[in-house]
Amino acid sequence: MSIGKTIVIVGHYGSGKTEFAANFTLFHRDAGHDTTLADLDIVNPYFRSRELQAQFEKRGIRVLSSNFETEHNLDTPALAAGLYACFQPGATVNIVDVGGDPVGARVLARYAHYLRNREYDMWMVINANRPQTAHPAETQRLLEQIEQISHLKINGLINNTHMLDETAPEDLLRGDALVRTLSASCGIPVKYTVCTRHLIPQAERLHVSGTLFPISLLLRPSWLS
């Protein structure tokens, strides 16, 4: 059960953490949960969860990030004091979207001691079409680096292998093979296989690991397709 839990989303940059985190937030909100999306990304300038703030707040979702950047678009890696709430026990589902790579995950160490003595989830999003996470050994090294720098443990893998509009079932299968190997070598289960909604009928026939999780692209502007 996710209520009162903190779910931290980490991974390589460009792996689709923010699209997953944003869609997962909507999924919980639609299930009627009191949901918060925390944007801890202080390494990226664009395509961050905070861009969804106005849209999400209309749907009753709290979006927390920095109290500076949202207003001024400045390159200040500041984090709002309210972010602490996401790491405290309570009645809300807290989804924490973290910046990419170990460098983006470093910020978690600041909050790690709040989670250490209670149950939390930390899931790593993996896209096997990203050159740095195309092979199990490299991906495992990245996983270990993220754990080391964040002082937290990853307990779920998410296969988010895609090639944007050109995604084919083969992409999902390539990612599935990768996360299965990784799961076997590091003992971390595969939680979800992610794909855009229109691919779900094809994906259902593939018997990929974890639960199929359909998403819509919330951050990518439609004119980029």
């Binding site: 664009y46 678009n73 390159d75 079409n129 944007l164």
Partner: protein, 352 residues
Amino acid sequence: MAKVLMKGNEAMAEAAIQAGCQAFFGYPITPQSEIPEYFARELPKRGGLFLQAESELAAMNMVMGASASGARVMTSTSGPGYCLKLETLAAMTLTRLPAVVVVVMRSGPAFGTMKAAQEDYRMNGNGGYKVVTFAPSNLQEAAEMVYEAFDIADQYRNPVVVMADGMIGQMMEGVDYDKMPPKRTALPPKTWALHGRGARAGKKPQLLFLPDGMGHYGAKHYCETQLYPEIIRNETRVEITDVEDADIVLAAYGTAARMCKNVIRELQGTVRLGMIRPKTLWPFPYEAFEQIGPKCKAIVVPEINIIGQMIDDVRIASAGRWPAHHVGDSQNDFLTPNRIRDKVLAVWEGLQ
């Protein structure tokens, strides 16, 4: 190598390494920091040198030094850093040293904000020099342009700039490195390069900044009267779409051109739109505008800035034949396809 999903900055860095870039000197600045990060990780593994300098000034002077020793060398920055690099860039055009400079534009003036922008179109150092300036509109193209930039720089002994807006640097897209442009053959040997005192064998220093027999002014005169016209003839790049029977022509580069393609699709059946997309900002494709057909009534120039910069070149190319209308950022927002569509429709209604 199959298509891989890349972030724009990574895609350009990887293309540079594949083009034989041997050294990178830079200094971090948003929204291009993934370029030095990529080089820091990849270049030493692949036999090259990465060095984070103490400033943009230092980095650019290191680029000049490495180029003088004959290396393929690159740096990257954003507007504020590009200002600092211009003095050395100008010096490299005078001393005829090749290099590649990637500029990922953000909103200024000065440190400005992190917002993506097309505001450095007119940014130049002193002295009337010219450098080929590429303007990519997608990541495949960004990678190809960086790849080819090294050959162009070596061919003419003149630096090449790749000017991407922040969106190009930060967006994700598939890139196929099997589709890089062909390597240019018969590039002139770098007989001028410095290889150390031992390599001189008692002769004069190898690095001749100026072509033999020419004084400073002679070299400058040669560049401006012969080299630059040759580059204009050979390296002007443009994408021209449906301008022969267009009612209105859109002229845009980079991400703004990308938005235009959506607007053209959306307005099909309402107004006949063509597009001129400069892929090189210098040389600017003035001649492309000669292909515009007799039905054209106006040119709309969307740019990610407030009052327009490239629009000046569009007006020169138009030579009074068509009015040129700017559309850009509003008080609160970046240029959007909707703003372009609304501008096109307003201009179209005004013509009825």
